[in-house]
Amino acid sequence: MSSLLRISLLVALAALGRPTVSCAAEGLKTESRTPFRHVIPLRDVEGNQIIPAPEFDEQGKPQEARGNPFSIAQTCGRCHEYSIIGQGWHFNAARGNVKPGRPGEPWILTDPATRTQIPVSYRGWPGTFKPADIGLTDYDFLLAFSRHFPGGGVGEPAKDKIDTADVRMRRMLVTGAMEIDCLICHNRQGAYAHEARYKALNNENFKWAPTIASEVGVYGASRMAKTFADSWRPPRPAPTNLPPVKYERDRFDLANEVKFDVTRRPSPETCYYCHTSDSRVGDARWHSDRDVHMRAGMTCIDCHRNGIDHMVVRGYEGETADRAITDDMILLRARVFLRDDGQLKEADARKLAESQLRNELGYVETLSCRGCHYGSENPKFAGRLGAPHPEHTGFPPIHFEKLSCTACHSGPVPADTTQIVHTALAHKLGLPGPVRGEGTAPIIVQPVFLRDASGRIAPHKAVWPSYWGTLKEGKVRPMLPDEVTKASGDKFPAQPKDDVERDPYNTRPLTDPQIKDVLTLLSSGRTNGEAVYLAAGKLYRLDGGNLKSDEHEAAKPYTWALAHDVRSKAQAVGATKGCADCHSQDSPIYFATVTARGPVDPKNAVTKAQWELRGDDPKLAGTFAFTFKFRPLLKIMTIFCAVVILGVIVGRVAVWLGGFRNRGQSDTY
């Protein structure tokens, strides 16, 4: 084919294009278990189809396929209910449309230089700070955590609600919204460039991130949105589409549509980008057996399911009470009823929809450990997915009221001390960096055996807040790292340059004199409260020029329950020494030490036993463990007594029977 003919054909096709997806095609569903082949038009944030310019212009000169970044909301949202999806668990933290539920892993604002680690969450979990409470705008939050934040929620504020007087938030008029990036989860394994997304977001190219990370296009210029946001001042019009995107022509077919290899069922490897958690740090990871369910061929989403509302089942007992049914969900279901029954009134359809959705909430409980293996309150659900019914031979049922399933089956095998654990959200796992070590901030430990909301003992992860702040009326308000750095000037202990290569994460703990120096600087001229530092379970303050440290409510750890990796029956607590795994005077669940970890000398850290952290009676725990020394003797003695009594009963019965027989015989004679 001559190049002229080829150009003409491409021009003709481009001109014809395909009319943006016809209205009739939108909203259609396949409702099949066969994945739909997603060859779809890309659309920019205005809803316009992205049609790459032909390779050559009318004069036959080569030209780039430049365009605006594509919008997920406009592209995927044509067929999928984007607004309903946006209410899902991964996106709704700041929306307030659901209860916070069981405390989960927070975002941890970490700054190694100022030795800061502050648990942050929009959900208001006790022990965390809402971003606004510590002076973080939504924009600052996005910059700090977008590497693992999937978009939506605070990432896409209504444009007309952005205050141009707010120097931070107004940047979003330039950077665009951080829409939910469906492709993070729904692109098939390996087809999503997380690192590219991270770099894009670091450059504040929010709107560009899905385009860059899905490798549909690259930047068409070297200046990033951050630069434009830095220089833009209202009332000048905001530069909204700079830099341009240079699309990969190979990704577009002749109809200017792009094939996305997407799946409804993301693989565990996809989830692990945000949900990796490993206490075998560095090169020791190969020792990990991973989760027994995964080994059996299951995937995360077999239990952590969701419908179109993306309210992923978290899987804890009692979760049903924490879930809400939104108006959008009712409306969506009601639409189906109205379509099926033309006589139905809208109000009745809504009632019916709500009632059906409420009934379906009951299914949530069947996906907890207990629900799947035992059947929860409804035994007909026992054994879902082939879950074996646990026999728990020789395990008195009272333990089910005292322990969560995870206490014996989840996380690392309990030992004399806790272990350092790295998580994707806290340690930027999934992104390349120098090998993370035990001192890499934030320091999180596991397993800490605390009581959950139901009073059962369950393993938790724990992080101790570390930050500089002001103490006023018994409450500590954290200072952000920038504020600390400014206020402390050059007195803050900087890492020697020649130490950076050895210790890239700047993990050297603060010494008491260093804390004292910084507190002295932070105190000077301060009138609204007393300058303090919190770390490793203690509050440091100056008292007459001397440094004092004591335990403080604000320095207590933030903890959240862990559930994975699940260990098999043979690896569970109780499988090795039986009752003595817990009921002995060296049982980790009771007597392991938990040392508060933070950027200070561990010698100064608060150390407690597991029983102490959960507020158990120390005498009771010790005495109960002590009595188990005599338990074998008690069993032997009791069984002996039972046998003797049985012997007496049987003997007496035999005598009676003999007596009856003799009497019968004498009657006969």
Binding site: P390, E391, H392, T393, G394, F395, P396, P397, I398, F400, E401, K402, G578, C579, D617, L620, T623, F624, T627, R631, L634, K635, M637, T638, I639, F640, C641, A642, V644, I645, L646, V648, I649, R652, V655
Partner: protein, 137 residues
């Protein structure tokens, strides 16, 4: 009828031991349910398990020393004695078997129910036996 109801000193001491054990067991067991604090845990559970030995040994010696005299004596106390012995045996067995790796959750739950109800029967039988013994003396 020959009245040779005399379990001897050992038998009487054993009866006292069994009764003392039963008192602690009853107070801790029934008390826990009566006060709405089930399941039994902590110090109460320790007291319950600790006193179970007294009851078991006491009942065993009572079985060895009282059975012949009671059998010869007859009367209403005879009936309560055998109810006490049988239900007491059930209490002991259903108390100790859950500590052995024999039964799974379902079996354990069944044993727990047997323990609970046989204990109630044993407690009632012990009291009635004591009262009827005194009245028949």
């Amino acid at each position: 009828m020959v009245n040779s109801f005399s379990p001897g000193l050992v038998g009487k001491l054993a009866y006292a031991l069994m009764f003392a054990g039963a008192l602690v067991l009853g107070a801790s067991g029934i008390g826990t349910f009566a006060t709405g604090n089930a399941p039994m845990t902590g110090w109460i559970l320790m007291a319950h398990v600790g006193s179970s030995g007294m009851f078991s040994i006491g009942l065993m010696i009572v079985a060895l020393t009282w059975t012949s005299p009671v059998a010869q004596r007859g009367g209403i106390s005879w009936l309560f004695y055998w109810i006490l012995l049988l239900s007491g045996w059930l209490v002991i067995v259903s108390g100790v078997v859950p500590m052995t790796p024999v039964f799974g959750t379902h079996g354990q739950h069944l044993l727990y129910l047997i323990h609970r109800y046989s204990a109630l029967v044993a407690a009632a039988a012990a009291v009635l036996h004591l009262l009827t013994c005194r009245s028949e003396r």
